[in-house]
Each structure stands twice: as C-alpha cells, then as structure tokens.
C-alpha cells in the first residue's frame, strides 16, 4: 500500500512542521513569559532571581537544544507547565476538556440537524417564498460574527423571553445557547453542500426512472442524496473542526463557560505561551488525523474511486 504509507508520512511531516511553526511563533517572543509573570516591580525580584526562575523553566539554554528537548518531552506526553498558574498543562487540559467536548459534540449535532432542515425546506418546502427564504439562510449565516450571535441569543432568550439564565446556567440549560452560537455558522456550509447535492441529484435522469418505478421522495433522499452529499461533507470535516475550535473560544468567552476555549483566551491574555503551544499543536494534530482518516476512507466509501485505485491517489493529491 504505497499510497497509505505516503499519506501517513506526509501527515507525520505536517505534524512535526506544525509543532515547529507553533514553537517558533510562540517562543520567539519579544517579551518573555517569565518577565511578564515575575517581572512586575511589586514582586521585587532581583535580576538574579529572575535568572534562576528562567533556569527552572529551562529558558536559558540555546534555542535549538530547547526546541529538541521540548519536542521530545511533547512526544513523551510531558506538556510542560503554565507560566501563569504553575499548574501542569496536561492537568489544565484534562479539567477543561470534558466540558468543551460536550459543547463541541452537541453543537455538531445541532449544526447537522439545522443544515438538514434548511436544505430540505429550501428544496421541498411548500411555498416558493419559504424555499427562497431558506435558500437565503446559509449566505446570511456565514456573514454573522460568532460572538454577536451569542450576544443576540442572550438578549432574546435570556432578557426578552427569560427562558434561560444569561450567566451561570448549568447542565442542559447552560448548554443550549453556547451550542446554538457555535452551530449556526457551522450549519451554513453544511447546508450549502446538502443543497448542492439535492439540486444535482434532482436533475439526474435516473431520478425520473426511480420515480417512475414508484420511489418516494424520502427514499430518494436517503438512498441517493444522502450518499452523494456524504463525500463532500467529509472533505469539509477538517475545516469544520477548525470552526468548532474557533467557535468554542468565542462562545465560551461570551457565556463565561469553563473549557478549552476559555483556557485559550486566558492564555493569550496573560501571554501564557506553554499552554497556548499545547493547544495549538493538539488542534493541528486533531485536524491532521481527521484529514488522514477522511482521505483513507474516501476509496472505501466511494466505489468510483476504488474502481480506479491507481488514479485515485493522484487525483486526491491534486484536488486537495
């Protein structure tokens, strides 16, 4: 399987490069993190003490050595310590992850439901104006600032209607608004892909034949549209993941919800680069894995690609 091997190698190369880029970006800082944390006059630390602190963080050694060491430590699963709180980054992540994962998964489900609803109504809605309205929704949704969606939801559902407490809601209640905030912009590209698939399938000659043999619209949608829409949707998986991460940062900030997003925002505000480095690299790692899986799944899901296996890798390399 030369294609699989090549694809794996490529993913590995991108991962190492991603770590390098993030490392260079985040530790080539002009004002170093130690100074930002311990340099304030109130602490009254002498330059020698600052140097000692630097040494304890290993910040006084040559850059290349530090880079290699940090990469090796990273591979061992040792993510270092937050400059800001002194806690191990892995502990910070472990406490923040569950809430963010719940939020992300819930948002994804809502986004898919929303996208299917939009695409279905825009194609099969009863009235012309209804179809046109729903067709206009995806372009509108991608034009909304995510943080603004969150604030508008708070305004309507918390203050005007009083349905959900604005801040400090827990459990499912606390999940609803942040989830919608993330889901709305993600639903838009999904709905567009679905719409395009429905439009494409509807104009195919075989649909007439299938219909003539008594197929219902539902059957047609499940059997043909869903299958046709699956592949382009899968290609978008990586991009959607990026949107999810960005959405989590914004919505967790807007709703003051603990999680990876808020941890990210905090670490930027306090220039806590070790934390941000780990978050960036793990996000890149997830993205690369998602794309790898999608690429390897492609020939499995699409018989057309399986038939011409020889051509498939080349074709994907060119279009990606």
């Amino acid at each position: 399987m030369p294609y699989v091997a090549r694809r794996l190698l490529q993913a590995l190369a991108v991962l190492v490069l991603a770590y390098t880029v993030a490392y260079v970006l985040l530790s080539a800082l002009p004002g170093d993190a130690v100074l930002a944390r311990y340099g304030s006059p109130e602490l009254g630390l002498s330059p020698e003490q600052l140097d000692a602190i630097r040494e304890s963080y290993g910040a006084d050694r040559p850059p290349l050595e530090r880079y290699v060491d940090s990469l090796l430590a990273f591979l061992r699963g040792d993510f270092g310590y937050s400059v800001n709180s002194g806690a191990a980054v892995s502990t910070l992540l472990a406490t923040a992850l569950p809430s963010s994962l719940t939020l992300a998964l819930a948002s994804l489900v809502v986004a898919v439901v929303l996208a299917v609803t939009i695409a279905f109504t825009a194609s099969y809605g009863g009235w012309g104006w209804l179809r046109r309205f729903f067709r206009g929704l995806p372009p509108l949704f991608v034009s909304l600032p995510v943080f603004w969606i969150g604030i508008m939801l708070i305004q309507v559902f918390s203050f005007k209607l009083g349905l959900v407490p604005a801040i400090g809601a827990t459990g499912l209640q606390g999940l609803i608004l942040p989830m919608l905030t993330i889901a709305i912009p993600i639903a838009a590209p999904l709905a567009q892909v679905l719409l395009r698939s429905i439009d494409e399938v509807r104009t195919q000659p075989f649909v007439t034949v299938v219909r003539a043999r008594g197929a219902s619209t539902t059957w047609l949608l499940w059997r043909n549209v869903a299958r046709n829409a699956l592949l382009p949707t899968l290609t978008m998986a990586g991009v959607l993941f990026g949107e999810l991460v960005g959405g989590a940062v914004v919505s967790e900030t807007v709703f003051a919800r603990a999680g990876i997003g808020q941890l990210t925002a905090q670490s930027v505000a306090t220039r806590d680069t070790p934390v941000l480095l780990v978050i960036v690299v793990l996000a890149a790692f997830t993205f690369v894995i998602i794309n790898l899986v999608v690429d390897l799944l492609y020939p499995v899901l699409d018989p057309r690609l399986r038939a011409k296996t020889a051509a498939a890798p080349k074709l994907q390399g060119a279009t990606r």
């Binding site: 490529q10 190369a13 991108v14 490069l17 991603a18 880029v21 993030a22 970006l25 985040l26 080539a28 800082l29 002009p30 067709r135 206009g136 372009p139 509108l140 991608v142 034009s143 909304l144 600032p145 995510v146 943080f147 603004w148 604030i151 508008m152 708070i154 305004q155 203050f159 604005a166 990586g238 993941f241 990026g242 949107e243 991460v245 960005g246 940062v249 914004v250 900030t253 807007v254 990210t264 925002a265 930027v268 505000a269 220039r271 680069t273 941000l276 978050i279 960036v280 996000a283 890149a284 993205f287 690369v288 794309n291 060119a318 279009t319």
Partner: protein, 344 residues
C-alpha cells in the same frame, strides 16, 4: 490559429484572444440572431465562439471590423446582470462602507471619543444609534470604526493575497521539490485552526489593529496559495503556454505575460470573499480584546463594550452588529457575483 481548440480558447479568453481576429459587428449580428438561446441570460460562460467564417455573409466585406473589445463583451453579457439588485445592492453597501472608512467626517460631525449627551440614550432623531455608557454617540463611533475595521480587512487581504499568491504561483510554476516544500508549509497553515493561528501571531506581534490585521492575513495565506497553485498548474499545461515557450519565451516572461493573467481571476474573486471573512475575524480579535485598545471605535470592540449593557441598552450590541453583518454579507454576495453565480 487553426490549431486552437475551443477549450484552450475559452481558457485563454481573458488574455490571448486579444490577438485573434474579431468578426465585424455587422457579421456578428445575424450570426447571433440565429442562436435560439440568445434571449437567455448568459452568465459565467461566454457564448461558444464559433470560428468566424462559418456563415458566408452575402454582400458584406470580409475585412476585420475593428470593434473595441469592451463593446463586444457587453454584447455577450446582457446589461441586466450588472443592473440587477444582486450586484448593485452589495456594491452600494461596500461603497458606503469605504466612504465611511475614507472620510468619516462627511457622515458624522462629532468626534468618536467625545461625550455628546446623556449616557445610554436609546436611538432617537438626535442620536441615530443612541449613546453608550459614557454618553458618546454610537453612530459616530460606528462610522469612525469603519476605518479601523475596513482598512484592517484590506491590509489582511493584501497580506494573504500577496504572500499566498506568491507561494502558490512559485509552487505551481516551478514544481518539484520547491512545490512539495511550500505545499507542506501551506498544509501546516491549514492544519492550525484560523483563530488559534491568528491568536499565536497576535501574541508574537503584540496587540493592536495593524497586528490583528496581519495575523488575520496570515491565516488566509493557505487558501490563496492553494487556489493560485491549482490555477497555475492547470494553465501551465495549456497549449498557448507551450506555444509561448516554443516561440522563445523565458520562464519569467511566460509566467508574467501568459500564466499570471490567465490564472488570477478566481484568486481575485477569493480576495473579495476573504474581505468579508477578514472583517469578521478582525472584529472577533477586537471583541476578545486583542485588537485595538479601548477608546478606539473598532467594531468588535464596540460590541464587546456594549455587551455589559445587553439587558438595558440593546442598541449598543445590535446596531454595530447589523452594520458588520451588512458589510460582510455585501462582500460575500459581490464575490459570489464575480465568480459568476446568479445574482439572487
């Protein structure tokens, strides 16, 4: 000329057809009338160009008509496309936004940081968008904020366009090891979620409007590079490029005279699309507090400041947000139009 296939001809339509003889207008007229689909709006695809001498014209001189190209292209694309609401409304919105950015003084008399009335006044005839917590006129602030947000977005797109197109064109035109290396770098830029990448760069450069704009620009390098590369790769194998090499063109001259002009149209459409997304991303950085510092009326920051008054002063978040949405929607529709979508 006889060797040019219709496909190559279409691909080269923006550039290389300039040297091809045009039919005289008197000849073109009857030829077009014969085509049944003439009344249908022809959108992205120009009418299939038939080699001219197919229809013998009786009594017409066969010399070249020498009609200007511009006239020809309007004949092919019905005027209605440019007069439709799908084109005019976005253009008007963008022009207004640009005018705000260039000359805010024309639209608002006061200063954006000056207290002009009581705090937290609802929108009225005097204060169109109401006033904020310190009694500043929100309408004035939104208008002065346009220069922050729109100029920032232009900077961002310029950074992404320049760097991305350079990378993409080099990778596509040179190929080989350079292509492989550049594309892996692009893969990395794509792999890091846009917001995280821009946050990392903002940390590196420091907070501020320009830095936020540059950071947002860097996140769009990858898409520009990808698109430019795929365009160049497809143009590079076309016959007129081969012909240009064959007639003694050097690498750079062919790149400049033939490959670039024929591959950049989609990239320009992407730039228009990126403008909207750059405004969104810059306002997000501003909202999170990593963009312009507080007294600046940057749009994201305006909304962030209004956020503390959601319960009492809806206009502080709703109205600036609507302005952002209107401008972003306009750039998205315009980009859709440039790419030749239907003006809906």
């Amino acid at each position: 000329m006889s060797t040019i296939t219709p496909a190559a001809w279409d691909a080269g339509a923006t550039h290389d057809t300039a040297t091809i003889e045009l039919p005289a207008p008197e000849q073109a007229e009857p030829a077009q009338r014969d085509q049944p689909q003439r009344d249908q709006p022809q959108r992205d695809q120009p009418q299939p160009k038939r080699p001219q001498p197919e229809q013998p014209q009786q009594g017409q001189p066969t010399g070249r008509g020498g009609r200007p190209r511009a006239a020809r292209s309007t004949a092919r694309r019905p005027k209605s496309r440019f007069l439709s609401a799908g084109f005019l409304v976005p253009v008007a919105a963008i022009l207004i936004g640009l005018a705000w950015a260039i000359a805010p003084g024309l639209f608002a008399t006061g200063s954006p940081t000056e207290t002009v009335g009581p705090a937290l006044q609802a929108p009225s005839a005097q204060f169109w968008f109401g006033t904020d917590a310190t009694g500043r006129d929100l309408y004035t602030r939104v208008i002065f904020g346009a220069s922050e947000s729109i100029v920032g977005a232009l900077v961002a797109v310029l950074v992404g366009f320049a760097a991305g197109t350079t990378i993409g064109v080099l990778a596509g035109a040179v190929g080989g090891v350079l292509d492989e290396a550049l594309m892996r770098l692009v893969d990395v830029l794509l792999a890091i979620p846009a917001l995280l990448l821009s946050l990392s760069i903002v940390i590196l450069l420091g907070f501020g409007t320009t830095n936020a704009a540059i950071a947002v620009g860097v996140t769009s390098i990858a898409v520009f590079a990808r698109l430019a590369r795929s365009q160049v790769v497809s143009v590079r194998v076309s016959e007129y490029v081969e012909a240009a090499y064959g007639s003694g063109g050097t690498f750079w001259s062919v790149l400049w005279r033939h490959i670039l002009p024929n591959s950049l149209t989609p990239v320009v459409a992407l730039a228009a699309l990126q403008l909207g997304s750059a405004i969104l991303q810059i306002s997000t950085l501003g909202f999170l507090g990593y963009g312009a510092p507080p007294p600046t009326p940057e749009w994201g920051l305006l909304i962030a400041e209004g956020r503390n008054y959601v319960a009492t002063a809806w206009w502080l978040t709703v109205l600036p947000g609507l302005v952002v949405v209107a401008i972003v929607l306009a750039t998205n529709r315009l980009s859709h139009f440039i790419r030749g979508g239907d003006p809906a």
